[in-house]
């Protein structure tokens, strides 16, 4: 990219998109040059995803103008966007499982010989595209047989097959290990050299500083600024994102830690985790740290009765948990906030009230009747305590921002007054404001004499909140660290198995 005359690949002029009740994107100007990586950052609900969906052709009713390579275009459908050279790589991969790598990559423009698919040409084309992203796989391999990291690169290869001039990547590193992130960055660097305009959405600021040339910050549906990354510090970006200075993030309150509440002995679920021992105490926040695939969520599912254990025992306050099924554990006061907010945690089509009460439905019984009014105070108190906006309990959940949805999810599990609350990535992908509120609520819960088990990939969160952290690797606890021993670096090294044993 030369300083005097960057080529503008994408120009969005005064674009806007309104949903019922919100203006998701409000008169935004956005420019991306050919041959640059342009980071797009902002808290959840800031409008990044909506802006990019607009570019992907998801809406036919956006306002404003979009110019690609200087030419005004209408992006009203995904195929129109593709035709104009917009390539999208989403967090969730869009590959079809049982089909081969080659067919996935070349889907949409299958080479033909007469009426038949030209298999040799298909394989050659797939190989060519894969080589751009540094993959050397057999194009006939089915997608389900490759790793998630490889699948992501296949996805990129697939998008490159449509000859995009603009490539949008939405949180591409969220499921990757450190090595894989490095490889991805090298590939992004290559694509930049080929003259692609790359829009890179991320919550992870260190990554943004590593890879981006420029950055655009959004807040509340508006653009705050677009700047060269070199002219900014991390603090300045955070300040623009939140519109206020982030003071000391974790002000830790003293908690008294008591007896063992939840004791797990020799617990195994074959193939996922083996011979796990764990003691979580009254008033304690016990962290569990590990890379994805270490068996953390699988362990949580057994701890709350969603899956049966293959061996081992679980005791609550010294009594063996003998029942099965989640309802039994829930009745004992053991609750589980799942990692996947949208498909496992919430019912987005229902109201906020229905969602918050969904974990305590059997309790809201008066004779034969189910009476929501019995939960009305609970809902009102939780909405207030967690500053959920909007405050109307009847609002449909889909209309809330991600951060507020996550607060509703926490409220749902707080509603039952859990004695043991297992949190699985409680703040993944939420804005800083919501994160602070969620952390405070978790500390308060522990402070009131309950037990919290915190599973997280967010290292500052573990370092700041947990009294103790157990490091999980390949289905086993390999190490325990006290609050004093925990730093981001020490946790990361331990989780990756790089600490001196």
């Amino acid at each position: 990219m030369s300083e005097d005359g960057p080529v503008v690949a994408l120009e969005m002029k005064q674009v806007g998109k309104r949903f019922p009740g919100t203006i998701a994107v409000d008169s935004v100007d956005f420019e991306v040059y050919a041959g640059e990586v342009h980071a797009l950052v902002g808290e959840n609900g800031a409008g990044k995803s909506t802006l990019m969906k607009m570019l992907a052709g998801s809406f036919n009713d956006y306002t404003g103008e979009i110019l690609i390579n200087g030419e005004k275009v209408d992006l009203h459908t995904p195929s129109m966007a593709m035709k104009h050279g917009v390539g999208m790589i989403y967090q969730e991969l869009s590959l079809a499982d049982p089909i081969s790598i080659g067919e996935n990559i070349v889907a949409g423009h299958l080479p033909r010989r007469g009426v038949f698919v030209d298999r040799a040409a298909l394989a050659a084309e797939a190989k060519r595209l894969m080589s751009i992203v540094g993959l050397d796989l057999d194009p006939d391999l089915p997608i389900e047989e490759i790793s998630q990291h490889e699948a992501q690169l296949v996805e990129i290869a697939k998008v490159l097959g449509t000859n995009p001039s603009i490539l949008v990547m939405d949180e591409p590193t969220s499921a990757l290990s450190r090595d894989e992130v490095e490889r991805l960055f090298a590939i992004i660097g290559n694509l930049r050299k080929r003259g692609l305009a790359i829009v890179y959405i991320s919550h992870h600021l260190p990554e943004v500083f590593r890879i981006a040339d420029r950055v655009t910050v959004m807040r509340d549906g508006k653009k705050v600024a677009s700047r060269d990354i070199a002219s900014l510090t991390r603090e300045e970006i955070v300040q623009m994102m939140v519109g206020r200075s982030v003071k000391e993030f974790y002000s830790r309150a003293e908690r008294t830690i008591g007896e063992v509440r939840y004791r797990v002995k020799d617990l195994s679920r074959w193939g996922f985790f083996h011979h796990v021992d764990l003691e979580a105490r009254v008033g304690e926040i016990l962290g569990i740290c590990g890379l994805s695939g270490a068996g953390r969520s699988e362990l949580a599912r057994v701890l709350v009765g969603l899956d049966p254990a293959d061996e081992g025992t679980m005791e609550l306050d010294g009594t063996v948990l003998s029942g099965s099924g989640m309802a039994y554990y829930l009745a004992k006061g053991i609750a589980y906030l799942t990692e996947d907010r949208k498909s496992e945690g919430l019912a987005l089509r229902l109201s906020m009230e229905d969602n918050i009460l969904s974990s305590i439905v059997p309790r809201l019984r008066r004779g034969l009747r189910y009476d929501k009014r019995l939960g009305r105070t609970t809902v009102r108190d939780l909405v207030r305590a967690l500053s959920i906006y909007p405050t109307d309990p009847a609002v449909t959940l889909a209309n809330l921002s991600g951060g507020n949805q996550q607060k509703v999810l926490l409220a749902k599990w707080l509603a039952g007054g859990p004695r043991v609350l297992i949190l699985d990535e409680p703040t993944r992908g939420v804005d800083i404001g919501a994160k602070v509120i969620i952390h405070e609520a978790v500390e308060k819960l522990a402070g009131a004499g309950n037990t919290v088990i915190l599973i997280s990939s967010d290292l500052p969160e573990l370092v700041g909140l947990a009294d103790r952290v157990l490091i999980m690797r390949q289905g086993r606890f390999v190490r325990e660290m006290s609050y004093e021993q925990c730093t981001e670096e020490s946790l990361l090294l331990a989780a990756n198995g790089e600490e001196s044993a």
Binding site: R18, F19, P20, G21, T22, I23, F59, D220, G221, R244, L306, G325, M326, A327, Y329, L330, Y336, T338, K342, S343, E344, G345, L346, A347, L348, R349, L350, S351, D354, L357, S358, S359, V361, P362, L364, R365, L368, R369, Y370, D371, K372, S387, Y389, P390, D392, A394, V395, T396, A398, N399, S401, G403, N404, D431, I432, G433, A434, V436, I437, E440
Partner: protein, 347 residues
């Protein structure tokens, strides 16, 4: 933590965020409003001389009796749709088999025969409940298969025979009771099927909106995985929905068999589609978790009136099927579009 609060964006529109009690009433009232429009249309057509005998007591009694039968079947079907499982296509054969078994066993007496008929209907429902609820078979494919199996059983055991109450038993009182019971009219107006429909509607409405089961069904229908992760036994919840559909189909089978005075394989033909149409135009969306039983009964009224007027005009059966099909497609299309235009529906 006032600083951390999400900034409200564009507050004036906030009222669109909630589905208010008022809008819910309008939605339910809407379908009855359409029913009233049909009555007005019928009256106008009669005034213009296009049809005769629409505005007569006799015709209205006919309409309401037909609505009762459809409304009963649709009320159970609504639970399946509400649970997010679209429809129970085994309803017609459940109706037929219930009727046939009841007539076949009439020589054991009225009550045992009716109970046996209902039990057979519930048995079909129980199989659906286990296979769709527990093993998560595709509801459409499975209940379609179930209806073929049931039809096969009927054809195998009874061949093409139609069986008549007066052939199955010599007890004249039992015959009279079976043939006459659903023709009874309270105050010479309200027939037993209408009474049953009202009872089933009220009980169904209570079950869906005012019980723990109803709350769990709503959650399951809206987001099944989330329901499971909230401690709801979704298998059981869905299973009960299929049992309810089978129960109302069985009751419908008794009525249709009694009114036609014959147990036959063709009793109930077409009721799966008519019931789903009533369910969907009554406001229960195919996406699950939305709508009310009272709306569904309104849907049955609209269909009953429409059928009546079309018949009086002299529109043939096939054309009527076509029109009903077109209306179904229209309503489902409008629903899908309005959900999608919200932009955030996970349906």
């Amino acid at each position: 933590m006032a600083t951390a609060e999400m900034k409200p964006i564009d507050v004036p529109d906030a009222r669109y965020l909630r589905s208010s009690r008022f809008s819910r009433i309008v939605n339910v009232a809407g379908i009855y409003g359409i029913a009233v429009l049909f009555i007005i249309a019928g009256a106008v057509l009669q005034g213009l001389g296009v049809i005769n005998n629409f505005m007569t007591t006799r015709n209205f009694l006919n309409i309401i009796d037909a609505v009762a039968l459809l409304g009963i079947v649709a009320a159970g079907m609504a639970f399946v749709t509400y649970s997010g499982h679209y429809a129970d296509l085994s309803v017609p054969t459940t109706m037929a088999l219930t009727g046939i078994v009841t007539v076949e066993l009439l020589h054991y007496g009225f009550v045992p025969a009716v109970l046996a008929g209902l039990a057979v209907g519930l048995l079909i429902g129980a199989v659906n409940a286990v296979v769709v609820g527990r093993f998560r078979a595709n509801p459409i494919i499975w209940t379609l298969a179930m209806s073929y199996v049931t039809m096969g059983v009927i054809r195998l055991v009874w061949v093409n025979r139609q069986i008549y109450p007066d052939v199955q038993t010599d007890n004249l009182r039992t015959i009279a009771l079976f043939d006459g019971i659903f023709r009874l009219r309270l105050f010479n107006v309200v027939s037993l099927p209408v009474l049953l429909m009202i009872l089933i509607m009220l009980a169904g409405h209570f079950l869906m909106t005012r019980t723990v089961y109803g709350a769990q069904l709503k959650l399951t229908g809206s987001a099944r995985r989330t329901a499971t992760f909230s401690g709801v036994n979704a298998e059981r919840v869905v299973g009960i929905a299929f049992l309810l559909a089978a129960f109302t189909a069985a009751v419908g089978g008794l009525i249709i068999t009694s009114l036609s005075r014959v147990g036959a394989w063709y009793n109930g033909t077409g009721y799966e589609f008519r019931a789903v149409t009533a369910v969907v135009i009554g406001g229960v969306t195919l996406a699950g978790g939305r709508g009310t039983i009272i709306g569904v009964i309104g849907g049955a009224f609209v269909i009953g009136l429409m059928n009546n007027i079309m018949t009086l005009i002299g529109i043939g059966t096939f054309s009527q099927d076509m029109i009903r099909g077109a209306i179904f497609i229209l309503v489902v299309g409008i629903n899908a579009k309005s959900l999608r235009s919200l932009g955030r529906d996970d349906a």
